[in-house]
C-alpha cells in the first residue's frame, strides 16, 4: 500500500484534525494556533505531492471505500486536473491567508477559534473539490456553508456580523438543499452517485425528462454559493467577516465552489438551450450589476465584494457560452481572479488595520505612508482592470474573444460583446478608484490612526500573490500553462482544444475591446463626482437585500398566522386537533370494512368481571375526584393494581412485574411532588366546556376500545413466532421478553438506558438550587406531626432492606429464563434504597449507602457498552451475545450468557436514575408558608 492509495481522504480530513489541534494549541499560546494551522496546511500539501504526477500523466486518481452501499454511498475521492487545480489554490492561498491572519488579528481576538474555523473550512472545501461521490460532495458543500457562517460571525458581538452570517447561511443553505435535490435526481438518472459514471453518462442525462428540473436545482445550488444574480446580495454583507476570511472564502475559494460545480458537471449538463440561457443570463446580469455597483461603494471591502460578484458573473457567463474555449478562459480566469482578488483583499485589510477605517472618502493619499503596499496594490488593481502584462489581461482577452465569437450565432447576439465591454469599462473605473482614492487623491481625512507600513509578514503574502500576477501575465507558458492544461482536460473530460496563451494576438476585436474599456473606464472615473451624486439620489435604495428581507419577514408572518390559527396555545386545543384527525382517519379507514374480526371472545369469569368493574369504577372516580388530588391518586393506585393483575392473569407475567414496580415508584414520585403542589384544584373551565370535553373523551375512549377489540378479534401473524423459536438457540434464554431486551434488541435497550441516564441527570440539574414554597399545615389546617421518622417504621425498613435486595437479586438472576430481569430488579433495588430514605431520612441513608448515584449511572452505561464492545473484540458485530454452561459444585449445571453483563448495566442505570431522581426531589429546599390546601407561591404571607 503506497501513499497514493489513501492520501486524498487524509488530505481532506487533516484540516479537521488541525482544527481540533488549533483550539488546544491556543490554550498554551495564541500564536501556536496560527503555527498549527500553517503546519497542517503544509503537511496537507506534502501529502498531496505524491499524487501530483498522475493528472499530468492523464490519469484520474480514485480512492474509494464502502460506506453505506445500500444507499449508493461511497467514501470516495477523486483527483484529476480540475480537482488538482482547486486543491492547490485552496492550500496555497490558504497558507498565505494563515500567515497574513496571524498578524491581522488583534490580541483581543481568539486565535484558536479563528484558525479552527478556518481549517475546518479548508477541509470542507478540499472535500468538495476532491470528492468522487456526489452525495459526499454535497455534505462537504454544506460544511463550507456552516464554516463560512461561523467565520462571518467571528466577531459575534457585532450585529452586522451576525446578520451577514445569518443571511449567508440562509441563502447558501437554501441553495445547498436545492443542490441536494438536484444531485439526487442526477444520481437517479445515472443510477450512480459516482462522478466517474455520471461524467460518462452525458447522452443519458440530456435525454432524461428530469433534465430541466435537475439542472434548475443544481444551478440554484451553484448560483447561491457563487453569489450570482439574484442571490448575489449575501456576499457584500458577508464582508463583516475579518478580512483574511473575505480574502480566502469570499474571493478566492468558497464562492468558486459554485463555479467549480458548474465546471465539474460541465461535460454532462452543458450544451442545451436551457444551460445556455440560464447560465449565460445569470452570468451576464451578475457581471454587469457587480461591475456597476462596485464603482459606487465607498467601503473598500464593499467595492471588492461587488467586483468579486462581477468577476464570478464573468466566469459564469463564459461557462454559459459553453464552447470548450470558453471553459479554457473560465478556468484561466478562476486562477487569475483568485490571485489578484485575494491580494487586493489583503491590501484592504492592511489599510483597515493601519488606518482604522475602510471608507474611501476618508482614506486618501496613503502612498506617502505605505509606498510598498501602494505599489503592490497598483499592480494587483491593474491585473483586475485587465492591463497588459498582467494575468487579468490574458483571461479577459480570452473572455472578450469568446463574446465576439458567440455574437455570430444570432442577429441579436451582438449585444453580448457590447455588454461585456461595458462591464470592462466599469471594471477599469472601479480599479482606478481603488488605487487613486486610497493611495493618491490628496491627504487622509480625519483617520482614527496614523497610517504606516504594516508588519513585513502582512506584506509577504500580498507580494507573493502579486508576483504570481506578474509571472503569469508575462510568462504564461512557463508558469501556469501546465496546471491549466490538465485542469481543462479534467473539466472537459477530453483532450483540451487548441488555445494560445500568447500575449500578442495581433490587432483584433478583443484588443480593441480592451482598449475601449481602459480608455472609457478612466473617463468614467474622471467624471465620477456627478455619477456618485446621481447614484445616491436614486439607485442607492435599490437593494436586493430589501426584497430578501421582505420575503423572509413575509414567510415568518405567514407561518405565525397559520400557527396562530391552528395552535391557540392550550393543551386542550392541541389534543382536539390531534384526536380529531386520528378519529377522522379511523372513521375513513374503517368506512367499508368490518370493524370486528371473526375470533371468538373468551368466557368471562366472576373474579375477572369484578376486577373490570373495579377498574372502571376507580378510573371514573380518578376523573371525578381529580380536584382533590390525593384521593385521585389513591384511586389511580387501584387502577394500576388491577391492570397489573390483569397482566398476570392474561399470561404476561413480565409486564405484571414491571407494572407493579413502576406503579409503586410512581406513587412515591407523585407524593414527593404533591407536597409542593396545591392539594385542591379550582374549577378551571365552564360547564359547557366540560360537557364538550366529556363528549370528546367518551368518543375517543370508545374508539380506542373498539380498535382494541378489532385487533383482538382478528387472527394476526406477529413476529413473536420468530423470537419464540430463536430465543433459546440464539440468545441462550427461555424468557423471550428478556432475551429480546438484552439480545435481539440490545441496541435499542442501550439507547434507552442512555436516555434514562440523561433524563435522570437532566432532572437533577433542573432541580439544583431550586427553592419552592411548602405548606406548614395539611389540607384541614392541622399542623404536621413533629415526629419526622417514626421508630417502628425505621426498624421495619431496616429489616426489610436486605430482603428486598435479595428479591431484587433473585429476580435479576432468573430474568434470562423466567419472568424478571435487570429492569424490574433495578426498580426493586431502587425502591429498597428509597424506602430507607423515606423511613430513616436522607442524611442517615447517605451516610450508610455511600455510592454516588452518578457513578452508578456511569458504571451501568459503561458495563453495558463494554459488554457490547467485547463482542467486537471477538470479531462479532456490536452486542452479539454468547452463552455457555458452567458446572459448579452444589449449584449444579447452569448457563451463563454474556447478556447477563449487559443486563447488569441496565440494572445499575435503573437503580442510579430512579434513586437519583427521587432523592433529589426529596432533598429540595423549601420555604414553609402558612397557606394550606389551595396553595399559591405566597411571598408576603403572614407568619
Amino acid at each position: 500500500m503506497t501513499l497514493v492509495d489513501f492520501n486524498l481522504p487524509v488530505v481532506v480530513l487533516l484540516p479537521f484534525l488541525g482544527a481540533l489541534l488549533a483550539t488546544q494549541a491556543a490554550r498554551f499560546n495564541r500564536l501556536a494556533a496560527a503555527g498549527t494551522a500553517a503546519v497542517i496546511t503544509i503537511l496537507a500539501l506534502i501529502l498531496l505531492l505524491p499524487a501530483l504526477p498522475l493528472p499530468f500523466a492523464g490519469q484520474t486518481l480514485i480512492q474509494r471505500w464502502e460506506w453505506v452501499p445500500s444507499l449508493g454511498l461511497e467514501f470516495a475521492f477523486r483527483l484529476d486536473g480540475l480537482g488538482l487545480l482547486f486543491a492547490l489554490l485552496i492550500l496555497v492561498i490558504g497558507l498565505l491567508v494563515i500567515i497574513y491572519a496571524r498578524y491581522y488579528l488583534s490580541p483581543q481576538d481568539s486565535m484558536g477559534r479563528f484558525f479552527a474555523f478556518l481549517l475546518s473550512f479548508m477541509g470542507s472545501m478540499l472535500g468538495i473539490v476532491l470528492s468522487e461521490n456526489l452525495i459526499q460532495l454535497v455534505i462537504f458543500w454544506e460544511l463550507t456553508s456552516l464554516s463560512s457562517f461561523l467565520l462571518i460571525s467571528y466577531w459575534y458581538t457585532r450585529s452586522d456580523a451576525r446578520q451577514g452570517a445569518r443571511m449567508a447561511l440562509t441563502i447558501t443553505g437554501m441553495g445547498g438543499l436545492a443542490l441536494f435535490g438536484g444531485v439526487l435526481i442526477l444520481g437517479h438518472i445515472v443510477g450512480s452517485f459516482n462522478l466517474t459514471e455520471v461524467l460518462a453518462a452525458s447522452s443519458l442525462i440530456h435525454a432524461s425528462p428530469w433534465y430541466t428540473p435537475m439542472l434548475v436545482l443544481i444551478l440554484l445550488g451553484a448560483f447561491t454559493k457563487s453569489a450570482q444574480f439574484p442571490f448575489h446580495f449575501w456576499l457584500p454583507h458577508a464582508m463583516a467577516a475579518p478580512t483574511p476570511v473575505s480574502a480566502y472564502l469570499h474571493s478566492a475559494t468558497m464562492v468558486k465552489a459554485g463555479i467549480f460545480l458548474l465546471v465539474r458537471l460541465f461535460p454532462v449538463l452543458s450544451g442545451t438551450p436551457e444551460w445556455h440561457w440560464l447560465v449565460g443570463t445569470a452570468g451576464m446580469l451578475t457581471l454587469l450589476l457587480g461591475a456597476f455597483t462596485a464603482l459606487f461603494k465607498h467601503d473598500i471591502k464593499g467595492l471588492l465584494a461587488y467586483s468579486t460578484i462581477s468577476h464570478l458573473g464573468l466566469i459564469t457567463l463564459l461557462l454559459g457560452i459553453g464552447s470548450p474555449l470558453a471553459v479554457v478562459a473560465a478556468l484561466f480566469h478562476i486562477i487569475n481572479h483568485a490571485t489578484f482578488k485575494a491580494s487586493l483583499f489583503m491590501v484592504a485589510g492592511i489599510v483597515d488595520h493601519e488606518t482604522g477605517t475602510r471608507d474611501m472618502r476618508r482614506v486618501n493619499g496613503l502612498m506617502k505612508y505605505m509606498p510598498q503596499v501602494g505599489i503592490l496594490a497598483i499592480i494587483a488593481s491593474a491585473a483586475m482592470a485587465g492591463v497588459p502584462l498582467l494575468n487579468g489581461f490574458l483571461s479577459k482577452e480570452m473572455f472578450f474573444d469568446q463574446t465576439v465569437s458567440v455574437s455570430a450565432i444570432s442577429p441579436l447576439a451582438w449585444v453580448i460583446p457590447v455588454l461585456a465591454t461595458l462591464a470592462g469599462v466599469f471594471s477599469v473605473a472601479y480599479s482606478a478608484r481603488f488605487v487613486h482614492d486610497i493611495f493618491f487623491n490628496g491627504e487622509p481625512i480625519n483617520l482614527p490612526k496614523k497610517p504606516h507600513e504594516p508588519p513585513l509578514y502582512m506584506k509577504i503574502p500580498v507580494g507573493l500573490l502579486v508576483l504570481a500576477c506578474i509571472a503569469v501575465g508575462v510568462f504564461p507558458v512557463y508558469t501556469i500553462a501546465g496546471v491549466l492544461y490538465v485542469a481543462i482536460a479534467g473539466a472537459l473530460q477530453t483532450t483540451p482544444p487548441e488555445y494560445s496563451l500568447a500575449l500578442w494576438h495581433g490587432f483584433s476585436a478583443p484588443l480593441l475591446m480592451s482598449f475601449i474599456a481602459l480608455v472609457v473606464g478612466l473617463i468614467v472615473y474622471l467624471i465620477r463626482k456627478p455619477l456618485f451624486a446621481w447614484y445616491d439620489r436614486g439607485l442607492s435604495q435599490w437593494d436586493a437585500r430589501i426584497v430578501y428581507q421582505a420575503l423572509v419577514n413575509g414567510l415568518i408572518h405567514w407561518a405565525q398566522s397559520v400557527t396562530r390559527r391552528l395552535d391557540r396555545g392550550t393543551f386542550r386545543n392541541m389534543l382536539i386537533w390531534f384526536f380529531g384527525v386520528t378519529l377522522l382517519a379511523g372513521v375513513v379507514g374503517f368506512w367499508d370494512e368490518a370493524l370486528l374480526g371473526t375470533r371468538e371472545l373468551m368466557p368471562v369469569d366472576g373474579i375477572t368481571a369484578m376486577a373490570i368493574a373495579g377498574l372502571i369504577l376507580s378510573s371514573l372516580l380518578t376523573v371525578l375526584k381529580h380536584r382533590s388530588r390525593l384521593i385521585s391518586l389513591v384511586m389511580l393506585g387501584v387502577v394500576g393494581l388491577v391492570v397489573s393483575l390483569g397482566f398476570a392473569k392474561f399470561s404476561a407475567p413480565d409486564l405484571a412485574l414491571t407494572q407493579l414496580s413502576v406503579e409503586i415508584v410512581t406513587v412515591v414520585l407523585l407524593m414527593l411532588a404533591l407536597y409542593f403542589l396545591p392539594q385542591y384544584t379550582h374549577m378551571l373551565s365552564s360547564h359547557k366546556r366540560h360537557y364538550q370535553d366529556i363528549a370528546w373523551a367518551m368518543g375517543l375512549g370508545f374508539s380506542a376500545a373498539l380498535l382494541t377489540l378489532a385487533v383482538l378479534t382478528r387472527d394476526l401473524q406477529s413476529i413473536s413466532g420468530y423470537f419464540l423459536a430463536h430465543s433459546k438457540t440464539g440468545g441462550g434464554g427461555t424468557n423471550v421478553v428478556n432475551v429480546i431486551l438484552v439480545d435481539f434488541r440490545g441496541f435499542d435497550t442501550l439507547g434507552e438506558i442512555v436516555v434514562l441516564a440523561l433524563a435522570g441527570l437532566g432532572i437533577v440539574a433542573l432541580l439544583q438550587g431550586i427553592k419552592l414554597y411548602a405548606p406548614k399545615r395539611n389540607a384541614e389546617g392541622v399542623p404536621w406531626s413533629q415526629e419526622s421518622h417514626p421508630l417502628i417504621l425505621q426498624v421495619q425498613a431496616r429489616i426489610l432492606f436486605p430482603m428486598m435486595l435479595m428479591v431484587a437479586i433473585f429476580i435479576f438472576l432468573r430474568g434470562h429464563n423466567l419472568p424478571g430481569g435487570g429492569f424490574i430488579a433495578g426498580l426493586i433495588a431502587a425502591l429498597a434504597i428509597v424506602l430507607q430514605n423515606l423511613a430513616n431520612g436522607i442524611v442517615w441513608t447517605a451516610a450508610r449507602i455511600r455510592w454516588d448515584m452518578h457513578s452508578v449511572l456511569a458504571a451501568g452505561i459503561g458495563i453495558a457498552t463494554f459488554t457490547g464492545l467485547g463482542a467486537m473484540l471477538m470479531h462479532y458485530p456490536f452486542l452479539t451475545s454468547t452463552f455457555t454452561y458452567l458446572k459448579w459444585p452444589i449449584v449444579g449445571k447452569f448457563e451463563i450468557a454474556s447478556a447477563m453483563g449487559f443486563d447488569t448495566g441496565v440494572f445499575l442505570v435503573v437503580v442510579g436514575a430512579t434513586v437519583m431522581i427521587l432523592v433529589q426531589l426529596g432533598r429540595l429546599n423549601y420555604i414553609e408558608t402558612e397557606d394550606t390546601g389551595d396553595l399559591q407561591p405566597a411571598k408576603g404571607s403572614t407568619p
Partner: protein, 89 residues
Amino acid sequence: MLNIALVLGFILVSGACFLSLVRLLIGPDLPDRILALDTLYVNSIALLILFGITEGSTLYFESALLIAVMGFVGTLALSKYLLRGDIME
C-alpha cells in the same frame, strides 16, 4: 377437597376485595381510603396465589412476592404524607 377450598377462598377474598373497594369509594376520610388500598394490595396477593394453585403454575408467585415486598411502600408514602407532608426528609 382442594377445589372446594379454592372456590371458598376465591369467594372470600373477592368479597374482601369488594368491601375494600366500597370503603375506598365512600371514604369518608383519607386514612380510610389509604387503608382500603393497602387491603386491596394484600388481597391481591391472596388472589394471585389462589389463582396460581388453580392453574398449577408457579408463574404467579413472583407477582405476589413483588406485591408483598413493595406494595406497602406506596401505602407508606401516602401515610407519611398525611403525617408530615414531606415524605423524604
